[in-house]
């Protein structure tokens, strides 16, 4: 390969920004952090379709209590799950910080209610500890524990978020 070509490729890579860095530093995980109750959680940034302010939803009968119902995201009907209820944290009123995180799980999209967003996180994969094995529902949903400064962040296992508990 000529030098010229190499340069072009390099330039393009730089322009791609994130993807480039991701390729180079393979051990960095990018996450979005958020608060539910008193704890901070995170999900991989690439699994997030979008984050929206709360909109109206429709209750669906005969569902688990943490399924608030379904809502309309640009013509798609998505389930809405209250993470507080799912994690057995006492209910709270929605406020200005409340958000719906729309996550892609397999081929399905679903919305999750969270108290507030914290920040986009970059955590070294090697610093992520395995989840404690307490056999609790909530811990089953946790992929690992990440640390950022003094904070402890539970990284959620996306695939388990839509699993029914039984």
């Amino acid at each position: 390969m000529s030098n010229q070509l190499e340069n072009v490729v390099k330039q393009q890579k730089e322009q791609q920004g994130f993807t480039n860095q991701e390729k180079v530093e393979k051990d960095i995980v990018q996450l979005v952090g958020f608060i539910v109750g008193d704890e901070e959680f995170a999900v991989p940034i690439l699994s997030i379709q979008e984050i929206i302010k709360p909109i109206e939803w429709t209750r669906v009968p005969f569902t688990e209590d943490y399924v608030l119902g379904v809502f309309n995201l640009r013509g798609n009907v998505l389930p809405l799950i209250d993470l507080r209820k799912k994690f057995h944290v006492p209910d709270a009123e929605f406020d200005d910080n409340t958000r719906f995180i729309v996550i892609k799980i397999g081929n399905e999209l679903a919305g999750f209610v969270i108290d507030r967003l914290t920040e986009a996180l970059r955590i070294e994969e090697s610093s992520i500890l395995p989840a404690p094995d307490t056999g609790m529902d909530k811990d089953m949903m946790i992929e690992g524990i990440g640390r950022k400064d003094d904070r402890i962040i539970s990284i959620l296992r996306i695939k388990t978020l839509l699993k029914t508990e039984d």
Binding site: N72, V77, E108
Partner: protein
Amino acid sequence: MDEMQEIMEDFLIEAFEMIEQLDQDLVELESNPDDLDLLNKIFRVAHTIKGSGSFLNLDVLTKLTHHMEDILNKARKSELKITPDIMDVILESVDMMKALLENIRDNGTDVTDDINIDPVVAKLDAISKGEAVATENEDKAEEEEVEVSDEEDDISEVDLENMSPEEVEAEIERLLKQRAEEDKKLREEMKKENSSENKSESPKEEPKKEKKEEKQVPKKQEPKSTPKKEAQKNVPAKKTSNVEQTIRVDVNRLDNLMNLIGELVLSKNRLIKIYNDVEERYEGEHFLDELNQVVSSISIVTTDLQIAVMKTRMLQIGKVFNKFPRVIRDLSRELGKKVNLIIKGEETELDKSIIEEIGDPLMHMIRNSVDHGIESPEERIAKGKPEVGTIELKAYNEGNQIVIEIADDGNGMDPEQLKQKALEKGLISEKEADMMSDKEAFMLIFKAGFSTAAKITNVSGRGVGMDVVKTNVEKLNGIIEVDSTPSKGSVFKIKIPLTLAIIQALLVAAQEELFAIPLANVIETVRITTEDISAVEGKSVLKLRDEVLPLVNMSDIFKIEKILGMNQYLYVVVLGVGASKVGLIVDGLIGQEEIVIKSLGEYLKGIEGIAGATIRGDGKVTLIVDVAALMKLAKETHSNTIATIAVEKKKKKENPEDYVILIVDDSNTDRKIMKNAIKPLGFQIKEATNGEEALNILKNDSNIDAALVDIEMPKMDGYTLAQEIRKYNRFKNLPLIAVTSRTTKSDRVRGVEVGMNEYITKPYTPDYLANVLKRNLKLS
């Protein structure tokens, strides 16, 4: 390689289509063994498949079809008479052909351990040899393969003038086949510079060429032209016009198109809603006319577009019906019965997805009619009926629905006998049996675990099946009706909607929640008062004309908390699936709307009573009720809930002390003035300083009986508050009284628009306020 793949796919599609037709033709042939047109048609199919198969190196398939062709060729030349026994073998080989083709489709090869063609080939051979001397067929096939490449020379070599008509035909067939094959070969090689006359890129054009040749040859021998040939000429001619005007489209593309149309319909609904809002607000303004025109034209075009796209997905039901003559033939031979199948309305069109789903249930019902319906010939003669039983299968349009009717002139069903049987099996109780109408009794055959066949055959009567039929039909939003007269016969009617994706629905409210009920299942809606409800054994029922309907509150079914007060009137939606009916109490009828069915997704699918969701004009999601499941739930709810009548009556209010009044005003002084005016009468009072606060109080406390509202307020003004309040069903009748210093006429109009019941301008006398309030609370 891709090219090869493409050819293979084309071949398979073509082959499956031909075989479908083949079954029907063969059965027809059995009754008319001398129909040469038919024989020729059948021969052509075997021949085409053989030819293409050999080209694609499908040796097993080629071998099988080759032997079939032998027999058919003999039959064609009247060297062989098709007897039912021979037909059995031919049909068997057709089945094998199908199996092979399926295997090719799935695995790409016709070599498989599962299918052994040798026994059939041996049988075919035996027939061929048993009846006549071996012919030159063997050589012919080989010849064909060799000669594929130089067709042109071939034509000139054949001495057409000296051939008998049959031989000419055989020759035509052979040449045609070569043409088709060469064509394919050409395509494969893709050296398309030669496209002088064979510029066809797709096999669909082959029939055209067929016609061309067809014309050429007879011209050369005009004097010999026989009626037979003319008939043959007609067939391909018809084919040509069909073929040229069709185009094969990937189903996914159509599905995608349908989805887009769905979105468009939703947007259209939304546009209409917005237009209605705007119209109310700016009545009489000039631009409304223009807007109206645009909205209506978009609305019309969308509807037309929807119908047009729906039509592209339509297939003729003949596609399903076609396989039944064969089924009936096989069955009647097996059971020793004589059955004549009459098919009508096979050109009736249905959505592709429905066509795919309806085949199995229909098949089962047809089998059932032959097995249980039609009697044995002896029995029929004894009863004075014609020896041959008749099953009539017909399809026709009825409004927005397609009706498929299966009628037989057989045994019929005796309702009493059915009831007895169901009783024995513990499917119904004695009481239920007594109450049952004949129609309901007929529906018993669809209950799981019910089988009327005294002897269990391998055809039907295993007790599974008819209930599956019903479930399948209901999945398609369809209903089954049964009518029967003992010893005269039975009629089964399956009614299904034209399409699955977009339906007409009735929107109802259960408390604050809206639901869409497919209109096809709504028989009627009635408004009743609580006095109309009677209790039978502690269960509520409604006597409607000469019927007694079980009544269930929708809120009870879906376990919706009851927050609404009792209204004087109740709305009842009478739902019907098959012969059973249920009265569903709802809290409001919103209206009829065209809705697009959307799935709730993998995660929430399969919720009992819910078929899906739709997005309404205002962007909100509304759940669509699965009527069949809802009726099942309703029956459970009905027997579990003793008194299902709406809400327990609220404590009766007679005195001002029983009422809570909400005063909404940002001015402390104004609130005091209002309080002073009404407090002496004994009303309980709550206060809010702005619209937002008032709304929160209302939401959390449903005991408020009326509100006095100022207009000018911070955060949320009185107009907005009124609008917000009226969005809730439970506040629909809440008296709202505007108390304001805004006095212009337009202010008053606005007040009425947003839902204020009264409009009082400041200053006012305490008496006046008190009187207005009392009037609105209907206090004397």
